[in-house]
Symmetry: C2
Subunit: 336 residues, 2 copies
């Protein structure tokens, strides 16, 4: 399978995150991408599609914030990476705020996603990698793999969180939609709910979003991804959430996957953007499903059987040593 990666994605390297009440080393480390790159051969470099396809998904004020946040943090004489400490949980609205701490909370939803010196570069090139893979599919490739990192599916139109800054899958899906390749469906098979992607499209009926993920009552991101979230307005019915319990094994997983694939098929999708996280792996240090390495090929093949042109966008997966092997196995399922 043709795959894409840009070295500049490695410039994003936060030091630590706040998790379960304490600082821990940053789980979404650059070595994740290196490990995958080694396992899948030699990815082609990303092309630069510029800001327009990013601006088609993210708000201009958020993008300006994201570009300038680390410099503003340093200008305020703060050390290390930029991180918020307070958030607008009620009556959130557009506001013109001066202080960097205020703006960090305005544009984020957790304390686990710092903005480091190289974050903008890394996120920008991660998005370009997604667009490059999508473009290959538009040009006729049956499938293409974007080794995106940082990941994207937790990022909303105007907020970061969950290690995500720019929503690579949403940017690719919107780009495909704008190119007339739709109807476009997004399938999210990361361990965690793709709350940012859902939020971006939840009021739209022209892009379908389906996610299979750990029950948010027990697992991040907690506040989104519950089964009763099915879209609103024009998007009513165009969102499908299938929460699964901790300990889920391949058989139960495939049953859920079949439901999601049938819905995508019934909806009439002509192109698939696939948010793929390998953190469903049994050995993932922050996740709790029981998918084994060999299962990933089965999952990949099941999705491939849908028969849609597919851009595969890398999301999570934190068992760094096993990550490349799991990704390669998943991709192999598309190549039968």
């Amino acid at each position: 399978m043709i795959s894409f990666f840009d070295e500049r994605q490695l410039r994003h390297a936060p030091l630590r995150e706040l998790h379960n009440g304490a600082w821990t080393p940053y789980a979404e480390c650059a070595d994740r991408a290196r490990n995958i790159r080694e396992a899948i051969g030699t990815p082609a470099p990303a092309r630069d599609f510029g800001m327009a396809p990013i601006e088609a998904v993210h708000d201009a004020d958020y993008l300006a914030f994201l570009k300038g946040a680390h410099a503003a943090w340093r200008a305020a004489l703060r050390e290390d990476d930029a991180i918020a400490y307070t958030w607008p949980v009620v009556r959130r609205r557009k506001l013109s705020l001066d202080r960097i701490d205020a703006r960090l909370g305005q544009y984020s939803f957790d304390a686990s996603t710092p903005i480091a010196e190289g974050t903008w570069d890394g996120a920008y090139w991660s998005a370009q990698t997604a667009l490059t893979a999508l473009d290959a599919v538009l040009a006729g490739a049956r499938t293409a793999f974007a080794l995106c990192r940082p990941p994207g599916h937790h990022a909303g139109a105007d907020y970061l969180g969950g290690y995500c800054y720019l929503n690579n899958a949403a940017i690719a899906a919107q780009h495909a939609h704008a190119a007339g390749a739709g109807p476009v469906a997004i399938l999210d098979v990361d361990y965690h709910h793709g709350n940012g992607t859902q939020d971006i499209f939840e009021a739209r009926g022209d892009i379908f979003f389906a996610s299979i993920h750990a029950n948010p009552a027990t697992d991040y991101p907690y506040y989104w991804g519950h089964a009763d979230e099915t879209g609103s307005g024009d998007g009513d019915g165009a969102t499908l959430n299938i929460p699964m319990p901790r300990g889920t094994r391949i058989d139960a997983y495939l049953a859920a996957l079949d439901i999601a694939l049938a819905r995508i098929n019934d909806w009439g999708a002509r192109l698939l953007v696939l948010s793929f996280g390998a953190d469903t792996f049994s050995g993932d240090p922050i996740s709790h499903f029981a998918i084994e390495t060999e299962d990933f090929a089965t999952i990949g093949a099941r999705i491939a059987a849908l028969g849609l042109p597919t851009a595969i966008i890398m999301e999570g997966g934190y068992a760094v040593g096993d990550l490349g092997g799991n990704v390669a196995r998943f991709l192999s399922g598309f190549q039968d």
Copy 2:
């Protein structure tokens, strides 16, 4: 002036807070209350009004969370104080969540307000102290001072934040309203906007809320307290926010105060709940107004001239060594 305090308020003693991206010692320390107590003589103990007046303001699920959160944190084998790391910034709604980290974010808006072992006891007795002072006013006292700590004005009906857990001023105001002592007005003269109090009453027309505070574009709590927030629905026009710039001195402060007092008078208030923070003091370590110790008597006298029965509820003030003197000076303004 008659004053009230309960020793059990001192049981609340978090270790640290996340502020500007790093852990700092907890600014809202128990010594604040000790310093005030020494300066104002011997406060009378609080009476116990039970849970009903607290439940009249706060949601039952939030109260159950607050009582049990620290034990749940320890049961999850976490160390130190309970603190959230992710928050529902969009589509916040009632959810049944299992994990303590999920519930911490569901019921808070910052990472600066830990739940320690003695937090429930401290917050409960702080609320009872407010109710005891309010009761003294209902019984005929012209003014009464509640040495509340932890403070309350940042806490909403179902969330904590800004060192606040139970909204003492809102609980007192609602209790006065229920007792038929209204119309009740709340005036908040803490350095920071009383966002929790505003949120609790913002859709109600029967309790007026006015606040003079640092411009939220530069100062906590950032997302609330802007001048265009004037209430909604039945409460349209019953909220008044007067943001003031950093560096505000007594003359400008009194001009703003006169506007707020005139509105409260015009509105027909018959009882005043006063959220008083001494963090407007020039020497406050986390605030940026230029009110001097002698100014506090002037401010107190100006509010006293409104001629309303007044329950004074202690909020912020972090220049611990000067705190008692500033509070005593403020209270002296009511006794001419």
